[in-house]
Amino acid sequence: MSEFTSSPHAESTSTDDSATPTAITGASILLDHVTKRFPGQTRPAVDGLTMEIPAGKIVMFVGPSGCGKTTTLKMINRLIEPSEGRIVVDGDDVTDMNSDTLRRGIGYVIQAGGLFPHMTVATNIGIVPKMLGWDKARIAARVDELLELVSLDPALYRDRYPKELSGGQQQRVGVARALAADPPILLMDEPFGAVDPITRLRLQDELINIQEELQKTIVCVTHDFDEAVKLGDWIAIFNEGAQLEQYDTPERILGDPANEFVENFIGSGAGLKQLTLTRVADVGLRAAVVGNPGERAADVLARVVEAGHGHAVIIDERRRPLQRLSRRELGRLQVISDIPDPKLPVVGIRATLNDALDTMLVSSAGAALVTGRRDMFKGVVDVQTVMDAITRSQAAAGLDSDQAPVGLNTGLFQAQASAAGSDPSEIEGSGDGAGAVQ
């Protein structure tokens, strides 16, 4: 690949560009008529793809295995050089820029983190800052800051080696490493593919939190459609040869799939999947009558009756929920105890309605207690709230979104076929057949 020949002047060119990647928000990306043909393959892996990736958004690439998601992603940081077309970042054509310099400004996360096993967590995270010439103190401070960001205690983890971390922790460090020099763009290739389902959900939530804070442009490949719905501001559904079947918001892809391929890809349960689109924070929470440990139960019951509620929520001195007591339970108690109820139905304010519903069903409580930062009690979400949200999101899916980014294939493959007459049209037929099977 050409990086190998171009690397010697990386040192000389890096000095003038090294100061760039400190923008706070993401940069837009444009793939302009990009085609990739691998040597010895008749069909291009990516075929005349034009695609806009808006700044500060998460764009998810999904599609069947081998359809060209990874190839498309790697053309953005030019780990794979496009055969044709241009890559434009924030209005600048980077197709001919020094690729090492380009990549120092683009975070890159791969499955299982791709951490270097012979370097400590801190060294791993500090690689790009070091290449950019940061001094030691600044790198050390940045490492700690990033470890905090990905919820790892710096004192505990900074000097560990990757093999001393769990899979999920390695993946977190991988994300921290990609964010080290505060790049405007983050590319992720099936980042959560190698961790167990529970850790995956947690990592997804954390990515959403991080993104809320940092507003990067994130392009993320996944084979898990639910993950795409959960994380994506926009979802691009690809077919063989990186043919864009639909590029739209999760709401509209679920509510109005463009064609049969997309419908098949979504699979069953589109209605339930819509529940993952709305977060507890986005629906109206109901207030609750609260009480504190040590209070007389009769006083709390009086307040519940006065408010016309069925339950009271007991919170500790830091406003963390401990118990949820019905009128009947309050009536039987003398004094409110401070023993937390282990089966309390609690969801975070960032959780999806799907999670909330699940929590309610599991605890058969008909409502879930919502907590915000530091597990502080925020309010209650109940089944009626969830039903209202479904109705609203279904209505929203019917509307046209006018700000949808551009995404299309100029279809070099089809263009060639239609221009050249009978023989290639046969190829086109077989190509369509293959597409329909997928």
Partner: protein, 278 residues
């Protein structure tokens, strides 16, 4: 004797922990299990060194007590033996340095993209070449380049380069391709990836190739005497030619002990130089 061995072992155990300590302050989190592991893997090394020392003492005692002829006594005089040994080590080390300087860069070059198509054929040749008998290589080369120290060195170098070349290539090849991609993806140049990722991860395999080469060199350096290269081989040849069994045995034992000692040094280096975290 028994007492001595015990003392030796105790002395080495003490030395061993002294060697290990400098690495330890950097060791994070789990010092207890790490120290245990450390001792487990060091134990083999301690036994190997103890064995070498015991064998050497046995040889010394035997030479002192055996009934030797005057010729044998002159040939096996401590000063003479020391001289042959030093010559032997010189020959070995010189060859080793040349081997490393040639084989490691060559191994790196052959695994880089422009030459990668050569990796498989070169590995095949290296494997075959290593199976060829050393004596044949030494003698053939001697006829070609002439006799003497340099001829001996050259043939030794060629012979011992193979394991180093092979292990350098294998060591680099077995580095996880995703790590290389992660490095490039972060904007490390191909040279940076080579020096900061690939070579450190290949170190364990490469070092074991170097150790193999050194042991080979000690053994085959004995053959150098056939081309007037000097070294401990002279004892073996004299012993065979003049039917002086004690001389023959002493020469053979010294070569073997030297090889074991160098193997031990190699293992210690491998242990110390192995990147932490692997």
């Amino acid at each position: 004797m028994n007492n001595r061995t015990l003392n030796t072992e105790a002395g080495i155990a003490g030395g061993d922990s002294a060697v290990e300590t400098p690495g330890d302050p950097a060791a994070p989190a789990v010092p207890v299990s790490r120290a245990r592991l450390g001792w487990q893997s060091w134990r083999g090394l301690v036994y190997q060194l103890a064995g070498i020392l015991v064998a050497f003492l046995a040889l010394v005692i035997w030479l002192r007590t055996a009934d030797l002829s005057p010729i044998e006594l002159t040939t096996l005089a401590p000063a003479a033996l020391w001289g042959y040994t030093v010559e032997h080590i010189q020959l070995t080390l010189l060859a080793a340095v040349i081997v490393l300087v040639i084989a490691i860069p060559l191994g790196i070059a052959l695994t880089r993209r422009p030459l990668r198509f050569l990796t498989a054929p070169v590995l095949a040749i290296a494997n075959v070449g290593q199976a060829a008998p050393a004596i044949g290589v030494v003698v053939l080369l001697a006829f070609w380049v002439g006799f003497g120290f340099w001829a001996a060195t050259l043939s030794l170098v060629l012979y011992a380069a193979l394991p180093v070349l092979r292990n350098t290539m294998v060591g680099l090849q077995q580095v996880d391709a995703r790590l290389i991609e992660a490095g490039r993806g972060m904007g490390m140049s191909s040279a940076a990836v080579l020096f900061r990722v690939e070579l450190p991860l290949a170190v364990p395999v490469m070092l074991s190739g170097v150790r193999t080469a050194l042991v080979l060199l000690v053994g085959t350096a004995a053959l150098a005497t056939f081309v007037n290269g000097g070294g401990l081989g002279i004892l073996i040849i004299t012993g065979v030619n003049l039917s002086l069994t004690p001389v023959l045995v002493t020469g053979a034992l010294l070569v073997a002990l030297l090889a074991l000692l160098i193997d031990w040094v190699g293992r210690v280096v491998e242990h110390v130089a192995r990147p932490k975290g692997l």
